[in-house]
């Protein structure tokens, strides 16, 4: 399959040369070739299917294209993507936003799930510490995302059930469920939207961030 694609590519290059096109293939041609190479190079493995790449949504395709161009996403497209993702957020079915921070901590620590070496049925981890500081006692944390140490405290959440805390509580849920609702090309996964975490797990993570008793707020 390698050879085939590369031969196609060679003939494409040859055609371009014949046409006197010294500057090489166009952006559209390169994009098409990349798609072709992706289809020929990746294969299903266990429960991880190639469709994860080929059938991705506009959020990803538009942001990828902007990244390649090295320019921020067009404002109108960004707005449209954010609105679509905002609409897709599922709010807690029972109105309860705050779960058990202890279980939230375990989910935040775990980086497991959804790779081809993971079981297809086990509960997934949240990968939070890979990118964020949270509990100060955990020194092994990443810096791709901002520190979330004292997340609730900094925002003045002393009682998450207080109506005054509502905007923060809801924002926190929404951000975890679908980060792209607030920033179209955020690096952060859409934990709820993409089925990485279920509603109960998201609730526990919100608890970890906002419960005044959580180590995050100590």
């Amino acid at each position: 399959m390698n050879k085939k694609t590369q031969l196609v590519l060679a003939s494409l290059a040859a055609a371009l040369v014949a046409a006197g096109c010294a500057s090489g293939p166009s952006v559209a041609e390169l994009n098409a070739l990349t798609d072709k190479i992706v289809k020929a190079s990746f294969r299903d493995q266990s429960h991880v299917k190639v469709a994860r790449l080929t059938a991705t949504d506009e959020t990803n395709t538009a942001c990828s294209e902007a990244d390649v161009a090295g320019k921020p996403l067009d404002e109108k497209i960004a707005k449209r993507i954010e609105e679509a993702n905002m609409k897709a957020i599922k709010w807690p079915s029972d109105g309860k936003f705050i779960g058990d921070w202890k279980q939230g901590e375990a989910i935040a620590q775990s980086g497991r799930g959804l790779t081809w070496t993971d079981s297809a049925t086990a509960l997934n981890g949240g990968n939070c510490y890979n990118c964020h500081q949270m509990d100060k006692k955990e020194i092994s944390y990443g810096t791709i995302g901002p520190s979330l140490y004292n997340y609730g405290k900094i925002r003045g959440v002393s009682n998450p059930d207080d109506p005054a805390s509502k905007p923060i509580v809801e924002y926190t849920w929404g951000k975890i469920w679908n980060a792209k609702a607030y920033n179209a090309c955020s690096n952060m996964p859409r934990a709820g939207h993409m089925g990485i975490l279920n509603e109960t797990q998201v609730r526990h993570i919100v608890g970890l961030l906002l419960d005044p008793k959580s180590p995050v707020n100590q």
């Binding site: 620590q109 775990s110 980086g111 497991r112 790779t115 993971d118 981890g125 990968n127 510490y129 890979n130 020194i139 092994s140």
Partner: protein
């Protein structure tokens, strides 16, 4: 003139002599299963022949403060004291504490390094087992972190 049987007999005797008298300091080279099976630092030291234990400034344990991965933790043990028979490297919280037992001879310095597996953060020990049965030890804490993507 020797017959074949006698030759065999004689070489067996020679082999026996070599085995017992050859190098007395290597007499205990056989694997000390009891010491390696022992769970705790104390039990492992006892199984290796220790009759008493005491912390000592004359024994040195070398290891990192933090290990990026518990699968490979560089550890070293040394002592300049006279009369050291064995140098032991131990990890307190491993299922069995004893990692390695080095035999000190006139031909080598009492200074050895290897790398150990650690299941979790733990104190690591260098134990110098003296000719008189005393076990002199030094310890330090090694933190084992969860690296990579936490998978």
């Amino acid at each position: 003139m020797q017959n074949r049987r006698e030759t065999l007999k004689q070489s067996a005797v020679v082999a026996g002599l070599l085995a017992t008298a050859g190098f007395p300091q290597f007499a205990h080279a056989a694997f000390n299963k009891a010491a390696f099976d022992a769970k705790s630092v104390q039990d492992a030291a006892k199984a290796a022949g220790a009759t008493s234990m005491a912390e000592s400034k004359d024994v040195t344990i070398i290891g990192p403060d933090i290990a990026e991965n518990g699968a490979v933790v560089p550890l070293g043990a040394s002592s300049a004291l006279p009369g050291v028979k064995h140098l032991l490297i131990m990890v307190e919280k491993n299922p069995s504490a004893l990692v390695a037992m080095f035999h000190v001879t006139d031909a080598v310095e009492a200074n050895f390094s290897t790398r150990a597996k650690m299941g979790q953060s733990s104190d690591v020990y260098a134990v110098a087992l003296m000719n008189d049965g005393r076990a002199l030890w030094a310890k330090k804490e090694v933190k084992v972190t969860l690296g990579g993507c936490g998978g």
